[in-house]
């Protein structure tokens, strides 16, 4: 601070400010990021953020990897809903290659993405509960997330970092047991979600803790590049699933819930409402799952079946070409976005026709909107700052890429 910048009175106030380190590893931040808070008693005066603690240079690594090897990197962005990242990346590459997928692939993807959205929102919303002192809901809904992860395990073999599906579809179709598991989930989940809502939504303590906490206006939220539930809570009905429908989202009937205040309570309510909508979409997709092959017939990006690789010449050649990345990639650039768990997850690919992307940029929603955090918590209590952070659904992996 420069000398003589403030009057003596202001100086005296500033002298009484304390500096508080929130993070990097603080249990309430749910991830590794640091906030240096300037506090006046228990009131937050200012915050300075430090990010990048788990930066892993994904964009640089991607410039050395062939197209199908990059999906595993996207797992580690928003690890609460990695299937959305995987499928979002696959859609971007398919757009670059000009591949059209059939309805069955689209519907399978929609089911997976909506399940992932439920898992993501469940974590975020129940963690708001934890940070306001209600651990019960968190442990209760964990059981449901477990069922979603079981479905993912059935489909791709992994639970958290899923690497689900392939470029151009899926390596295999859903097993009948998987479809049964999804149907069971649709049947059992509404009861749990309703109970969870009953626990928090009209709970006086919870409402007192969250209403008018960490608010942001629609105008500021748009200027700060908010997207996803956080933007919708502020009253802007922008959803990539509707504005730029991908993967046949225009076949489904669902609404975009919005809030009005843009505060923690609205963000919570928007996510709750979205989970009901996701459930509606999954139900429609499972009931109307079309027939068809689970992968497209494009040899450039889809590995041929193994038994053909061992017995026929052409599939053997294509197998090698795909694995070594020696396929003809179109020259061009695409921007493709999906509605991720916490906002517009974009993939900007520049291809020069080589075996790897020339440039791959991830538009990571929480990296962009987390910069509004100091503005949102200024003037509030420390405990409000903590629930504001958990209600923004900031995932360290996505923040730092």
């Amino acid at each position: 601070m420069e000398p003589n910048k403030y009057s003596a009175e202001t100086e005296a106030i500033i002298k009484n400010y304390t500096t508080l380190n929130l993070g990097p590893t603080h249990p309430a931040t749910h991830g590794i990021f640091q906030n240096i808070l300037t506090m006046d008693g228990e009131i937050v005066v200012d915050a300075e953020q430090t990010v990048g603690y788990i930066h892993r240079a994904f964009e640089k690594i991607a410039e050395r990897r062939t197209w199908y090897q990059i999906t595993t990197l996207t797992d580690r962005l928003n690890y609460c809903s990695s299937p959305i990242n995987n499928i979002g990346y696959q859609l971007a590459v398919e757009k670059l290659f000009g591949v059209e997928t059939n309805k069955r692939i689209d519907y399978m993807r929609v089911i997976i993405m909506e399940l992932a959205r439920i898992a993501d929102h469940l974590i975020c919303n129940s963690v708001i509960g934890v940070d306001t002192g209600a651990l019960t809901g968190f442990l209760y809904v964990m059981q449901e997330r477990e069922k979603i992860y079981d479905i993912f395990e059935d489909i791709c073999g992994a639970r958290l970092t899923t690497n689900i599906g392939r470029l151009g579809g899926f390596e295999r179709d859903f097993a009948p047991e998987t479809i049964q598991k999804i149907k069971d989930f649709i049947k059992g989940y509404p009861k749990v979600l309703a109970e969870f809502e009953k626990l928090l939504m009209r709970n006086r303590i919870f409402m007192d803790r969250t209403i008018k906490v960490g608010p942001i206006s629609a105008e500021r939220a748009t200027a700060y590049g908010f997207s996803g539930p956080n933007l919708r809570a502020a009253g802007v009905d922008y959803d990539v699933r509707v504005s730029t429908p991908y993967s046949s989202y225009n076949d489904f009937d669902f609404i975009i819930p919005t809030g009005t205040q843009g505060d923690t309570y609205d963000r919570f309510c928007v996510r709750e409402a979205e989970m009901w909508e996701s459930l509606k979409i999954i139900k429609q997709a499972v009931d109307n799952l079309p027939e068809g092959k689970p992968y497209v017939d494009v040899p450039e990006i889809v590995l041929p079946p193994k038994e053909e690789v061992y017995s026929k010449m052409e599939p053997l050649i294509w197998h090698f070409k795909v694995v070594m990345g020696e396929v003809n990639t179109p020259v061009g650039e695409v921007y493709s976005a999906v509605e991720g768990g916490n906002g517009e997850l974009g993939f900007y690919i520049v291809s020069d026709g080589g075996r790897t992307p020339y440039r791959l940029h991830f538009r990571r929603p929480c990296f962009i909107y987390y910069q509004a955090y100091p503005e949102m918590i200024r003037g509030g209590m420390l405990s409000d700052a903590i629930i504001t952070m958990s209600s923004m659904n900031i995932i360290a992996g996505e923040l730092d890429a």
Binding site: V51, G52, H55, A57, E59, K60, I61, E63, R64, K95, R220, T222, A223, Y224, G225, V236, Y238, S243, T244, M324, G325, E326, G332, E333, V334, Y335, A337, E344, G346, Y348, V350, G354, R355, T356, R359, H361, R363, F367, I368, Y369, Y370, Q371, A372, D400, A401
Partner: protein, 163 residues
């Protein structure tokens, strides 16, 4: 309805000399803008054509070009649901471009990230320092002259399939 062609003709009308190229690679109108005019163009798009959302801002490096470093902006108009992409290229020596933080607060960290990885200086940025990398790093890692692999390693050389 604001159509892609309207945007192209309106921009060409207003900034005839600043627009160096117009393309349409993936359904998004893409303009290459002279780097000194990037802020007037962005401001025009924001204030006259309603592009009020900065979707993305990132850097790119083409070492063989005369102006090797580039900044790429993606803007979105929510009401009309159209996107545009702007590109501005700057020289490799002392690369600098005006900041967009006055128009879009969201540009703050995205510009810091671009500075961090490509070394592009955003003139007038309120807090231009590294964001994801450590502060004592003395190079810009996303530039193409920094290969990912250790250049002294020869065990990974692939003379048949390598690029």
């Amino acid at each position: 309805m604001l159509q892609k062609d309207d945007i192209i003709s309106k921009l060409k009308e207003t900034f005839a000399s600043a627009i160096l190229a117009v393309e349409d690679p993936d359904g998004i109108a893409t303009f290459t803008i002279a780097s000194e005019s990037i802020i007037p163009v962005t401001q025009f798009l924001r204030e006259q054509l309603g592009f009020n959302f900065l979707t993305d801002l990132c850097g790119i490096h083409y070492p063989d070009q005369e102006l090797p470093l580039g900044v790429i902006y993606h803007l979105h108009n929510f009401q009309e649901n159209v996107r545009v992409r702007l590109k501005a290229f700057v020289p490799g020596e002392n690369p600098s471009i005006a900041t967009a933080t006055d128009l879009f607060p969201a540009a703050n960290w995205m510009e810091r990230e671009t500075f961090d990885f490509y070394g592009i200086i955003f003139e007038g940025h309120p807090n231009l320092k590294r964001i994801l990398n450590v502060e004592y790093m003395d190079y810009y890692p996303m530039r193409k002259e920094y290969p990912l692999e250790d250049p002294t390693r020869h065990d990974k050389e692939d003379q048949f399939f390598g690029r």
